[in-house]
Symmetry: C2
Subunit: 416 residues, 2 copies
Amino acid sequence: MSKAAALNVSIERIQRDIEHLATLGQTPSGGVSRTSFSSADKQMRQWLHGQCQEHGLTMRTDGIGNIFIRAEGMNVPKAAPVCAGSHLDSVPEGGRYDGIVGSVAALEVLRVLGQAAPALQRPVEVVIFADEEGNYHHLLGSTALVDNFTWEELQQLRGREGDLLVDALSAMDWDPRHATRTALSSHDVHAFVELHIEQGPVLEESHTDIGIVTSIVGLAGGQLDFVGSQDHAGTTPMRLRRDPMQAAGSFLGQLARIASGTSSTAVLTCGLMEIEPGGTNVVPRLARLHLDFRDPDPDVLSQLEQRIIDCASNAANQYGVEASFRRMSVTAPVPLDPHIRALLREVALGRNLSVTDIPSGAGHDAQNMARLTPTAMIFIPSAGGKSHSPQEHSSWQDIEHGANVLLDGVVRLAQA
Amino acid sequence: MSKAAALNVSIERIQRDIEHLATLGQTPSGGVSRTSFSSADKQMRQWLHGQCQEHGLTMRTDGIGNIFIRAEGMNVPKAAPVCAGSHLDSVPEGGRYDGIVGSVAALEVLRVLGQAAPALQRPVEVVIFADEEGNYHHLLGSTALVDNFTWEELQQLRGREGDLLVDALSAMDWDPRHATRTALSSHDVHAFVELHIEQGPVLEESHTDIGIVTSIVGLAGGQLDFVGSQDHAGTTPMRLRRDPMQAAGSFLGQLARIASGTSSTAVLTCGLMEIEPGGTNVVPRLARLHLDFRDPDPDVLSQLEQRIIDCASNAANQYGVEASFRRMSVTAPVPLDPHIRALLREVALGRNLSVTDIPSGAGHDAQNMARLTPTAMIFIPSAGGKSHSPQEHSSWQDIEHGANVLLDGVVRLAQA
C-alpha cells in the first residue's frame, strides 16, 4: 500500500491529452462529434498510436475496432491482465469528457507504471471500446468482446445515417470478416475498472469527490396509450368529452410521485409523446406517452412498471378513457463487483477523498465487461450533471482525483 | 300564422337532394370531399342550376362564388329579401350534412313558396356561401359579402395545396377581378336565417329537436410553454429534475376544471403539443401546449384566459419550471338576433317540437351575416356529435323538423 500510494498521475499530461482530443471532431459550438470510424475517429487512432510509440507501449486493434494497449517491454508475468479503459467516441455534438476522461486516465496509468515499474503480479492493459455511443449498435465494442457477432448480424448493422457497419469497417482498411472473431473468454481478463464522469448531478450536489458505482441500472421502456373520443374542440362540452390528453396529463403530473413512491433510486421519464390526429381544434383520439424507467434493482423495476400501469388505469378511469401499456424493452440491472468496490473505496479514502456509493443511471461498457470478469466503475462529478452536450464539464482536480483512484485500484488488483 | 303553419317542406325532395349531393365528391370511405372550386364543386353548381331551371328559379353567382337564388317569376314586392342558406362545400373527407342540410332546406323553402305562393311583403332569397370551410380563407364567401377583398389581398390567398385562389377562380371561367366587388350593404338584406347541424352532442344527449343558437362562440388560441432543464433520463434523480412534462401534465389534467370553473359553456382543448428535444431518453427542455378555448361571452373568454395563465403559473411553480402564455388569435363572440330567436322558438313550439337555447361552438357564415343584418341560426341534432367526418349523420326526421322551422321562420320574417 505504501508503495502504491507513492505513485501519482500527472494531471498536466492528462489535461494536454484531453485538450488535444477535444480538437479531433471539434464542432463550431465547442462540442465534439467523433463517431466511431469517422475521420475524427481515424485521427484519434493515429494520435493514440503516436502516444504509444512515444511511451514504449504496444497498441493492438481487434476486428471491430476495440483498442488494447500494453507496456510489453516491461518485465511483466504471463497472466490475465487487469484492464482499465473507456471509450473515445462521442455522440454528435457531444462533450470533451464522456469516455475521454476514463480512456486518457487509463493511458496515464500505463505511463506512470512504465516510469515507476512497480512489482506487479499481472500485466495492466488499457481497453478503448469502439462505438460505445452506439451509432451502429448499443455498446458495440464491448458487446463484441462478450459474444462474437455473426456475419449475418454484422451485415444488418447500420449507423444513424443509414450507412452499413461493414462498409465503415472496410473504409478503415480493416477486413470486416475479422469483426466476427472478437470475443474474449473469462480467462483473458482478470478484472476491469472504468473511470467515467457521472453524467448526473448527484456527486456535485453532495460535494463528493468519488462515486463508487454499485450497479448499472436496469432500463425499461414502453408505450402508454390513452385512447378516448375524437371530437370537435368547439362543439363538444367539457362534460361530454372523453379526452385522452387530460388523462395523459394527470398521469404525467404524477411522474415524480410514481418513481419516488417506488424507490429513491427509480427514475421515470416521458420525453416523447404522440397525439392523434393532432390538430389545434380537435379533441384527440389518442395520447401516446413514450416512457423510460430505470432502477438498479430488478424487483424495483418490476414494481415500478406495475405502479405505472396502476396509475395510468386510475387516470384513465377518472377521465372516462382507456389506458394500455406495452413494454418495448427491458435491460436487466448489472451489479458491480463488491470486492473491487471495497478496494476502490479504501484507496479513495486513503487519498483523503470523500466517497459515496452511487448507481449508474446510464449504460456503460462496464455492464458488458461484468459478464466476463469482476468489474467496477469510478465516477467523478459532472458540472450541473450535463452530458452529451458541449456544456459537459469536469474539473481538472476532480479528474486528477479519479485518475489517482484508478491508478491505485489497478495497482492493487495487479499486485494480487 | 294559420296560413304559414299549413305549409310543409317535402322531406322526400330534401332526402333526394342530399343523397344526390353526397355523390358529388364522394370518397371511398363514404365521406365527401368537395372543396370550393374543385371539379366536385363545379358539378354541384351545374346540378343547382338544373334544379333552378326545373323549379322556375333564378340563380346568380357573385365574383367570389356565392350563389343567390330567387323565385323572380313570383309576384314579389321590391324590398330587401329575407335570406336563408348555408354552404355546399366540405372539408376533405367530410360528411353529407354539414352545410348541405341548411342549403337544401333553404332551396326547399323556395320550392314550397313557389308552389303555395303565400302573400309576402318581401322576397325570399337562398344564399349558398363559397368556401365556408376555409380552404382559401376562413368563411371566404360571407367574409366577401361584408367587406370587399382588395385585389392585393385576393392575390395572396392560397388553398391548403398551395394553389392560388385567383387561379381557382379563373379555372371556373370567372374573372377574378370581379371578386373585389362582392360586398353587400345592410340595405340589401332584411334578415338571415341559417339551418345547420349542431356538430356537437348536446341536442342528441338532451333529446331536443331544435336548438336556437344564442351566439357564435368567441374563439381564442395560444401557445403555453413550460420550460425546464434538459437532462439525462437515466442519471438525473427525480428530485433534481426541472421537468416541463410534469408541469404540462399537471395543467392538462385540469383542463375540464379550468373551463367548467369559468363557465358552463366554456371549452378548453389541447389537441397539439410540441416537445423539445423530444427523445425517449431525454428529460425535455420544453413542453409547448397549443390551446384552443371558446365561450359565447367575451368577458368569460377573458376570464378563461386569465385562469389558464394562473393555473399554468401554479403548475410551473409546483415543478420548478417556467410557464409563459402567448395569445395567437382571438375572434370575438357574435350574439344572434333576439327578435328572430324568439320568433323561431315560437314557430318550433307551434309545431310541437322541443326547443332549447344553445351556443354555437363552431364558426359559421352567420357570424359574418350578423354584421350586415339581423341573423339567427337553427340547429338540429348530430348523431354522436360527430362532424367533419364520414360518420356525420342527422336523421331525416330531425332534418324535416329543422327545415319546417326554417320555412315557418322565413315566412314570418317575409310577412313583416
